[in-house]
């Protein structure tokens, strides 16, 4: 490098962040080879398994003459349309955090680095963070699409280029949306408009998703009509001004050998990427700086104007008055005052962390949407085999969701005490009771939620009452085990240096917790199905009883052992 030529800031930032990332990866591998091996195995396993499944599914679909190619093409258009939407949302969230809540951004802005350069660097970083996981998830599908149609080798070169151009657009649009959000978030008019838009969208989507009645007679005689009606709901993905339309058209036309069509859509995509890229990299920095200053200058209580019913009182009168949560805790909780204080603190911390409750709401929303849709599904189940299979798969889906919740929210509980662990460690409460309180509380909440969900989903499937009780009880036991496993392993593998729960979960302990939870669910689900009294041919009462003994014993052991180890570890933890 010639010392006389100043190095562009962009290259300096890229260099330092590349070094940081590479060392982080090396230290993660060196820290736990088992964790790295498991992660590598999962990545490879997912890629191969997903490719095999997608390939089989696409081959099956393409075997329908006339209909197959139409369905597959629509799937490609839908895939990229939803990918665009998800990337947009993901980019808005990540850009907001990265542009306005990131310490590196503030550090760089205190140096002689132009706002434009910082903004450009941050949207590049956010774009990668927001996109890589989605691209990893869809890659097997696109590869399977190529092999299903025997695409030539250059398909696998052209497609990544199309996708790379495509992901730039949601990254830029997401960053602009994040800037707009940062500027307007605390304005009452914006908040009212946002609430109205969400309500309108919910109404629109729920009316749009209404199921259509398809009779057996229609399926027998008017298949094309039924398919046409089905596809009409997905026509939005063919809107020609959507970037997903350009990438889908380019890819599908390349497979069909219509190279000129691909070339055309490639140029459309390239021109838009260059145009928006130019605007973002040369003109948006000043808006970013204004928005950053607005965020930094914001007083607390952006939603204060919504709390119009609250009477303003002098600080002395309000500071120590009991809040509703304290009063409810006194009524509901049977533990001692210190345990109650711990639980109330955990609930408050959870409710005041938008990331935590936001993710819980998304998971819960998905589950509720799934359960509501089950009632449409159950009408089609006529054979006992399918009813049995669906009911056990339903149990599995709810249990896997529970395992995701316990790993994501319960496992990091001890670590989240972080540098504040001395407060609990020095208090008469003690670590053992702390652990038990966290375990009992999370188990109680999980049991209430999952038992209700499983009960509701079984009712939607029109399963007899005795089986509803069976499944509800089963998931109740699983809630005990999964919570004990999460609390126990969270105490065995704490990470007191990290404040971000997502990062705590992504460590070795979190991965182990998720893997063990999934293995436990798959194992116990297979055991329960194999020893069921009525499902899949039915078994004798002795086998049924034995199945329950094994299930209860296994569940108890898998929960109790890590919990006991965790308690012992916490008793000797050096704060």
């Amino acid at each position: 490098m010639n010392d006389e030529t100043p190095i562009p800031h962009w290259r300096i930032l890229a260099g330092v962040n590349r070094t940081q990332s590479w060392r982080r990866l090396k230290s993660a591998v060196a820290h736990s080879r088992l964790h790295a091996f498991l992660m590598g195995l999962f990545v490879l396993g997912y890629a191969l398994l997903a490719y095999a499944l997608f390939h089989k599914a696409l081959q099956f679909t393409s075997s329908f003459p006339g209909l197959g190619p139409v369905l597959i093409e629509r799937m490609i258009f839908l895939l990229f349309a939803f990918l665009f939407l998800l990337l947009l949302l993901s980019n808005v969230i990540i850009n907001f955090t990265n542009l306005f809540r990131n310490r590196e951004t503030h550090f760089l802005l205190s140096l002689p680095v132009p706002h434009q350069v910082v903004y450009r660097w941050k949207i590049f970083e956010s774009g990668i963070l927001a996109s890589w996981a989605f691209l990893f998830l869809i890659a097997p599908f696109v590869a399977a699409y190529g092999t299903t149609y025997n695409a030539s080798w250059h398909f696998y070169i052209v497609t990544p280029i199309f996708v790379a151009l495509f992901v730039v657009l949601p990254a830029i649009l997401g960053s602009w949306a994040a800037i707009g959000l940062a500027r307007c978030l605390n304005r009452l008019a914006f908040q009212v408009a946002a609430v109205l838009v969400v309500i309108v969208m919910i109404v629109f989507v729920s009316s749009w998703l209404q199921p259509e009645t398809v009779t057996d007679e229609m399926l027998e005689t008017r298949v094309l009509d039924v398919v046409d009606r089905l596809l009409s709901r997905t026509r939005f993905s063919l809107f020609p001004f959507l970037p997903s339309y350009w990438v889908s058209s380019g890819i599908t036309q390349w497979v069909e050998g219509a190279l000129m069509g691909t070339f055309f859509f490639g140029l459309v995509l390239l021109s838009h990427t260059l145009f928006f890229g130019y605007l973002a990299s040369t003109r948006s920095g000043v808006f970013f700086y204004g928005a950053l200053s607005a965020v930094n200058s914001r007083g607390g209580g952006g939603t204060a104007r919504w709390k119009f019913w609250r009477r303003k009182r002098p600080l002395g009168q309000t500071a120590f008055t009991s809040k509703p949560l304290d009063r409810w805790a006194k009524l509901l909780w049977w533990g001692s005052a210190d345990t109650r204080a711990l639980i109330v603190k955990d609930i408050r911390t959870f409710l005041r962390d938008a990331t935590q409750w936001g993710q819980s709401l998304i998971l819960l929303g998905l589950l509720i949407a799934y359960i509501v849709n089950l009632r449409h599904f159950s009408h089609r189940l006529t054979s006992d085999f399918w009813i049995d299979l669906t009911s056990y798969l339903n149990l599995g889906a709810c249990a896997l969701n529970l395992a995701t919740l316990t790993t994501r929210f319960v496992f990091p509980q001890i670590s989240l005490e972080g540098k504040r662990i001395w407060i609990i460690g020095m208090a008469p409460l003690g670590m053992r009771r702390t652990l038990m309180a966290k375990f009992l509380f999370s188990t109680a909440v999980s049991m209430i939620v999952t038992m209700a969900l499983v009960g509701a989903s079984c009712a939607m499937l029109s399963i007899p009452l005795e089986r509803i009780l069976y499944f509800t009880l089963t998931v109740g036991v699983m809630a005990f085990t999964l919570n004990a496993l999460a609390v126990g392993l969270g105490a065995v593998y704490p990470n007191f240096r990290e404040d971000n729960p997502s990062k705590i979960v992504s460590g070795f302990g979190g991965t182990l917790c998720l893997v063990l939870s999934f293995l436990y669910i798959i194992g116990m689900l297979s055991l329960m199905a194999a020893t069921s009294r009525w499902a899949f041919g039915g078994s004798s009462p002795v086998v049924f009883g034995l199945g329950w003994v094994l299930f209860l014993g296994g569940s108890f052991l898998l929960g109790w052992l890590p919990l006991r180890t965790g308690i012992r570890k916490m008793a000797s933890v050096e704060i």
Binding site: D3, V16, S27, S110, N296, S297
Partner: protein
């Protein structure tokens, strides 16, 4: 030099800085004192360009931080109360990084970094990852990286936090030398002894306003020869 004119900074209903005007010429060691939430850090953040003033302006060496931020920052060294460092880099790599962002040539950067690192006894830590360093050592790394490019204005927010007495002394000496060499030094601290010992002028902020400003002697004579502590407490007594 630093020129602050009628600076006001509003956070929602809270006026954190209220009509603050102050000029700190080159070669002056200025210490700003004030109770918690007096508006010191907000003032410093506006000076560093991390937020725009609600009204008023800040000029660093004649460059308005709002309209010519790059020129202003190029002449400034800023260390916040909790400095950001890249935890996987070594101090040497971090110095090289910040040096390049300031457009320093390698030989000048290396010479300056080595000189300052030696004064702060960082020799044994230069090749270790920053994440493995203690809080005080990280603070020393941040200070070296900020001073490397020979700034004309130094703005430090609570720089003594985390430093042991030996390195506090080193920092005080370096800042004194900088001031004597014509650099404007602006330091926020809660340690009244630092103000008494080091400052050419002392400013006391309270509820966003600059309630007193002058040399130690001027403050004493204007307040019946009392100690700086009693002057400070009397001017900010509703927080005591």
């Amino acid at each position: 030099m630093i020129e602050i004119e009628q600076l006001t900074k509003q956070f929602g209903d809270l006026r954190a800085v209220d009509d603050l005007s102050l000029a700190v010429p080159g070669g002056e060691f200025f210490v700003i004192l004030g109770p918690n939430a007096a508006g010191k850090t907000t003032t410093i953040k506006v000076m560093a360009g991390l937020m725009k003033p609600t009204t008023g302006s800040v000029r660093i060496c004649g460059f308005d931080i709002g309209t010519s931020p790059i020129e202003a920052r190029r002449r400034m060294a800023y260390v916040p109360d909790f400095p950001f460092l890249y935890d996987k880099l070594t101090p040497t790599e971090f110095f090289r990084f910040t040096g390049k962002l300031f457009g320093m040539k390698d030989p000048a950067m290396e010479a300056e970094a080595e000189h300052l690192a030696n004064r702060f006894n960082l020799g044994d830590f230069l090749a270790k990852p920053i994440e493995s360093l203690s809080h005080g050592t990280k603070q020393r790394v941040a200070i070296v990286s900020a001073l490397m490019h020979s700034p004309e204005v130094v703005v430090f927010d609570e720089p003594m936090v985390g430093l042991d007495p030996h390195h506090s002394r080193v920092l005080k000496d370096i800042l004194r030398e900088q001031a004597e060499a014509g650099v404007t030094v602006f330091v926020s601290t809660h340690q009244l002894s630092v103000a008494e010992e080091m400052a050419d002028r002392i400013g006391i902020m309270h509820q966003g306003r600059l309630v007193a400003v002058g040399s130690h002697e001027e403050l004493q004579s204007a307040n019946r020869d009392r100690t700086l502590e009693s002057i400070f407490l009397s001017l900010t007594d509703n927080d005591a």
